[in-house]
Symmetry: C2
DNA sequence: GACATGGGTGTTACTTTATAACGCTTCGGC
DNA sequence: GCCGAAGCGTTATAAAGTAACACCCATGTC
């Protein structure tokens, strides 16, 4: 993932899908929220709220307050356009918004990329394990640290 | 879990096992570290570092600095005696130290209890999903939010 | 026993991450 | 055009985590 790919396309794509989804739902994807979404998507690495804040200040010239970013992120997470990576206190664009899901992530320790997967096996196993103990699942969090394929092949 | 059980026993048990494990490994479970472990175990709810810090200050009279607690927690996590719940920035005693594992948790939104499970199905599914994508797993994090059995039966 | 060594702890200061409270503005429905 | 709710700005503050440095004390060595 960290290798070459047309990332500009990833971003444009994400924005287009976001526009469509929000229009469909009647949710307000304001200029600010759209801009924050774009910044989250600036790579496939999870980005911290304060990193995004800095981008806003530096690239757009306006010195925003933390709350500005947090509120936008909150909206984006609610809409399923962005996921929060709990173990990193950071945010990453959702690869497949639209269908609700809570996200499973393979986070590479070397390059920092977070690959989102939606593995039915993992989901099923969690649901089963929970059910066995009478636990009602609301929101599963799966964040796997390790080494991605390309970083195993090209160690630094 | 939040219901009645001899929690004094849980604590005593955890301390005894910790003593044994550290002796066996030649790790130094000092008075401070042992005390912090005891405070982590004061319930089955994950506790924040600052909550533990307050306990130390109030119950023991000595005003400790954050680092004191963080260092003790770091040691305990390394030894596998305590797990960190990423999605809560909090720590909880490990139910089955000794064998290395990274912990899977069912965290109840109502009572706050975090039940540790070690479900082979979940572990296997994650390993398989990762392998399929050429990802080498180092440390899986599984934290499931929802409602525990007793909180479903006795809603508040 | 003296001594060196390294791990553990204390202390101060600081960074990063996140939220509270309040008011103004703007959008969208009527 | 008016109104209510949602969005945004601003200031201040809380919560979580780390850096740097000094001291202490247990341990092993001579």
């Amino acid at each position: 993932m960290s290798s070459l790919h047309d990332h500009t396309h990833c971003i444009a794509d994400a924005l287009t899908r976001a526009d469509a989804l929000c229009a469909e739902r009647g949710a307000r994807l304001t200029a600010l929220r759209r801009r924050v979404l774009e910044l989250v998507w600036s790579s496939h690495r999870p980005r911290g709220a304060y990193a995004i804040l800095e981008d806003l200040s530096q690239q757009d010239g306006k010195a925003a307050a933390p709350l500005t970013v947090y509120r936008a992120l909150e909206f984006l997470v609610e809409q399923g356009l962005v996921h929060r990576i709990e173990s990193l206190n950071a945010y990453v664009g959702c690869a497949a918004p639209g269908n609700v899901h809570s996200g499973q992530f393979l986070v590479c320790e070397a390059c920092g990329d977070a690959a989102e997967i939606d593995d039915p096996g993992v989901g099923t196993a969690i649901t089963a394990a929970a059910a066995e103990r009478g636990f009602r699942v609301q929101r599963p969090t799966v964040e796997v640290r390790g080494l991605c394929k390309s970083c195993q092949e090209t160690p630094r």
